[in-house]
Amino acid sequence: MKRVLPIFIVVVTAVLLITAWFQSGGAQRREMRSANSPEQAVRLMLSQIQSHNYDAAYDRLANRTDIDKTSFMREFQGSYGSLLTYASLEKFEVSPLHSTDSDANVRAHLHYSTAVGPLDDNRDMKVQKSGDIWKVVWPVSQSAKLPPQVIPVNYLRWDVISRGASDDWGVQNVDSPQVRIVSMNAIQRPDSVVLVGEVVNEDSVPAYVNVGATLLDAGGKELAQESSFDKISHVLLPKQVTPYRIDFPSMRLEKIKNVRMDAKALLVAASADPVIEINQQKMETDPLGKKVLRGDLLNQSGQIVNIPHVIAAYYDSNGKVIWVSDGYVAQALLPQIPVSFAVDVPPDIAKNVQTYRVVVNHYDTNSQS
């Protein structure tokens, strides 16, 4: 026993360790490191990016002479305080598109966890065979650069004088600005009920606005309560309109008898700057076959907009709001440089869309303090 027991313990422990190593994907990792197929080469590079090992990821590129490491890192880490600077690559899926003995095209679906929620991105990558291993040819993008120039600032701004430092930011001891819910439409989706509509600031002063909704059943009992959260532009300048959307997960329309809408408004300080122009809007089908609303955002001011947020309202032929979708743009808006955006539209709704309207909300690091 004195010899059998230690041998038994060592052997069983070794077997357990090896079993778990295989179960945990140790063998796959080892295989991936060899990069002897196009998919493995992309997986290896992305897994190195995932673990923030950018040196090793950069070494996996076939065209290192065309792109410097800093530019490559910016593709994943972002710049100018953009959404990608608040993101980390959480997971990815790789699928082959086309392959020969010497080169291949691979599609990578990248899933980021960001400060405002999940962000998905699809990248088609070219992969080349280099000796026994495959390497990724990273697309070189030339970012536009503007010459130094002066941009005059002549936007409107509304300041509020408060009684003192102890006052709350929303001034509540004066009449609230007049805001009105101009439309509301309840839509049954497969997994939820969605309320969409628009709200307008009818006053001559800016308003902070938030729309909440309470669903009531036939007996007047409260079924659920939700708010528009980030699917609204909270600060409305005079006469400005914003779409809103309120989601009620796991709810059925037939249960609902009444909806109690509540638009809260407070007088706040606000400014019209930065002005963001929306161009080239069009509905189209993306490479994955999904219906999207595409367009370009152009920052007309001289300040950087770090995180733009696009909210789009879609109307049917009667001018009724039939859907509201939103999306955060991964790139920062540099002055005068257009950045494209795309927001999803469910296919069953897309076929009824006649017109659409886009508003842009934004977060700027400099304007918070």
């Binding site: 004195k2 360790l17 929620g117 909270h234």
Partner: protein, 616 residues
């Protein structure tokens, strides 16, 4: 009797070692008719070991390392603070819009609360932690005496002062209940052995009461300890039963002990069981690094294996060899092995296979502590053998190994990429919440790490967040695999989705104020309609508010304990510990009775054989 002869068969040598234990129990040094005068040849007095433990851990605790560096220390202080204010009401409204503290055994927190009336919360925490640290060598000594002789046991106790897992759990993890419960349970185990082997009624009473006390300190340690620690000891009791007793009687007595302990725990922790039955843990599993395969991540391997075991890793082959060579040590070796495998978490498939869903609820560093403590009797024996061969060299080697083992976790605190962020100054946050009626609303901290309990301890305002995952019942938490919202970003999409869900329901919870110590969260808060209103420490902490949020109202919950449950919770656990202390003085151990017999000097040749069997 020369215990070690060069080239002797190891089994014979070790069996002789066991015999020597019986002799040495009563008459140290008597076996060879000489009195050992060398320090290296005598057992180390327990008093000296306790002084050493005090000298090593006292200054580290005086530096408040657990409170400023560890993950959980502030959490335990927060729980204690609630008991200090509401002894008989386990319902705590300060976290998760209200939760029951009857979901966590209360004894540690109640002792901190009691002491806090005199010393304040922080110092009280350190006192209780010091008691735990001092109990460890005492309990290891008593536990080791079951397996090895007095001298080896004293070495085991000495090494326990330096065990990396202890330092890791005390100074890095802040798991006070685990580090207090483990020694209490180790103290109970020898009584379990005595009762099972020789039907000692006093041992049954003391053992059961100590078990109840250990359970009232930490349930998980007890539940798993009862199998991992007790089973080898029961096996040993069967081996040691003597020819006059039957093995089945020993096992039956073991079962009687288990029944008494089980019923006792059912009563002492009744509110806990009621909560568990009413709300079994059904939330989405929260990822924890100790459950991963440590071989696939160097940092995790260092954190959960190298640091807690330290130089014990090098001793593993010897532990295996010595443990297998001696029939009496085999149960301990097998017990250690099983515990060791559990401590590896997801590095082997065994824990997941055996624990099922519980695997995703437990963290596995506590098993490493148990495994490390279980090795110590064999390591003590190893040291004894080495000392007999070359005392000075062995002493030097073991001393160096012990110091390295202790130094590793201390160094790791500085080197680890994981930061508890427990030392953040949150005074400004508490001041804000405690003025101008701000405590009428609920609040949330983001990026505060393990400083969240510090905020909660010293404010009357309530939070929707909290640090104790098992007590969470709000759907915003249970539907997502995330721990506290203050660290949401570390849980990726799940964490941020849980945070989004909570912010969506801000009006429902009266969640008006958000304190941010990590700019990462600012975009989301801004898009959701909050505005920055104040900042502290040069912008390190910013305060955000939303003006359209109504004041907080109580959130109804069926988890609220009844008044009777509160009464039981406030009395029985503490009573069990007071009873354990009383019994320690009032019911003398058999061994203590015999050790009072004055031995002649030099010791006479007495026929001690009959008594030896009974000696413990």
């Amino acid at each position: 009797m020369d215990l070690v002869k060069s080239g002797a068969d190891p089994e014979e040598t070790l069996e002789a070692g066991y015999e020597s234990k019986l002799v040495l129990t009563l008459n140290s040094g008597e076996d060879n008719r000489t009195v050992e005068t060398s320090y290296f040849s005598r057992p180390i007095p327990l008093r000296f070991i306790l002084l050493l433990a005090l000298a090593v851990h006292g200054p580290l605790l005086a530096l408040q390392l657990p409170l400023t560096n560890s993950y959980d220390a502030n959490f335990h202080v927060f729980f204690a603070s609630h008991y200090a204010h509401h002894w008989f009401d386990p319902w705590n409204p300060k976290w998760f819009a209200g939760f029951s503290q009857a979901t966590y055994p209360p004894l540690t927190h109640q002792w901190i609360a009691l002491l806090s009336y005199v010393f304040g919360l922080h110092f009280a925490y350190l006192i209780v932690q010091l008691v735990a640290v001092l109990l460890i060598p005492v309990s290891v000594y008593r536990y080791a005496r079951l397996w090895v002789d007095e001298r080896a046991s004293s070495y085991a106790a000495l090494f326990s002062v330096f065990v990396g897992a202890v330092a890791f759990l005390v100074y890095s993890a802040g798991q006070l209940p685990t580090t207090l419960s483990a020694p209490l349970y180790l103290l109970a185990v020898p009584y379990f052995y005595d009762w099972s082997r020789s039907a000692d009624g006093g041992a049954l009473i003391k053992g059961v009461v100590l078990t109840l006390t250990a359970g009232a300190v930490h349930h998980v340690t007890l539940i798993f300890g009862s199998v991992l620690f007790a089973f080898p000891v029961l096996w040993l009791a069967v081996i040691d039963r003597g020819e006059e007793r039957r093995g089945i009687s020993v096992v039956l007595r073991g079962l009687i002990f288990a029944v008494f302990a089980g019923v006792g725990l059912g009563i002492v922790l009744m509110p806990y069981w009621v909560e568990l039955i009413r709300h079994p843990i059904q939330q989405m599993p929260i990822p924890h690094a100790s459950r991963s395969n440590l071989l696939l991540n160097a940092t995790y391997f260092t954190n959960y294996f190298l640091v807690p075991y330290g130089m014990l890793v090098i001793a593993l082959p010897f532990i295996l060899w010595y443990g297998a060579a001696n029939r009496r040590l085999r149960p301990l070796l097998i017990g250690f092995w099983v515990t060791f495998i559990f401590g590896l978490g997801g590095t082997t498939p065994v824990p997941k296979l055996l624990l099922g869903r519980a695997f995703d609820v437990l963290t596995f560093e506590r098993f490493t502590l148990s495994a490390a403590l279980m090795t110590l009797p064999i390591v003590g024996l190893l040291a004894e053998r080495a000392m007999e061969r070359n005392a000075r060299r062995a002493a030097l080697g073991f001393a160096a190994a012990a110091i390295i083992t202790l130094a590793l976790p201390m160094a790791w605190i500085a080197l680890t990429p994981f930061s508890a962020n427990a030392s953040l100054n949150v005074d400004a946050v508490d001041n804000f919440l405690n003025r101008d009626g701000h405590d009428r609303y609920r609040y949330l901290t983001l990026g505060f790490g393990n400083s969240l309990p510090k905020v909660s301890t010293y404010t009357d305002a309530n939070s929707v967040d909290g640090e104790y995952n098992s007590a969470r019942l709000l759907p915003e938490f249970t539907r997502y695999g995330t721990a506290q919202l203050t660290s949401a970003k570390y849980f990726g999409t799940n964490g941020m989705e849980a945070l989004r869900m909570m912010l969506r329901h801000a009006s429902h919870y009266g969640l008006k104020y958000i304190f941010i110590h990590d700019p990462y969260y600012e975009p989301l808060i801004s898009f959701a309609g909050w505005k920055q209103v104040e900042s502290y420490d040069n912008g390190a902490i910013t305060v955000w508010s939303r003006e359209d949020i109504p004041p907080a109202r109580p959130i109804p919950s069926d988890a609220m304990p009844t008044a009777l449950e509160g009464l039981l919770w406030g009395t029985l656990p503490l009573a069990s510990s007071i009873l354990a202390i009383l019994f320690a003085f009032l019911i003398p151990d058999r061994q203590r009775v015999r050790s009072e017999v004055l031995l002649p000097f030099p010791p006479a040749a007495e026929p001690e054989g009959v008594l030896m069997r009974e000696a413990r």
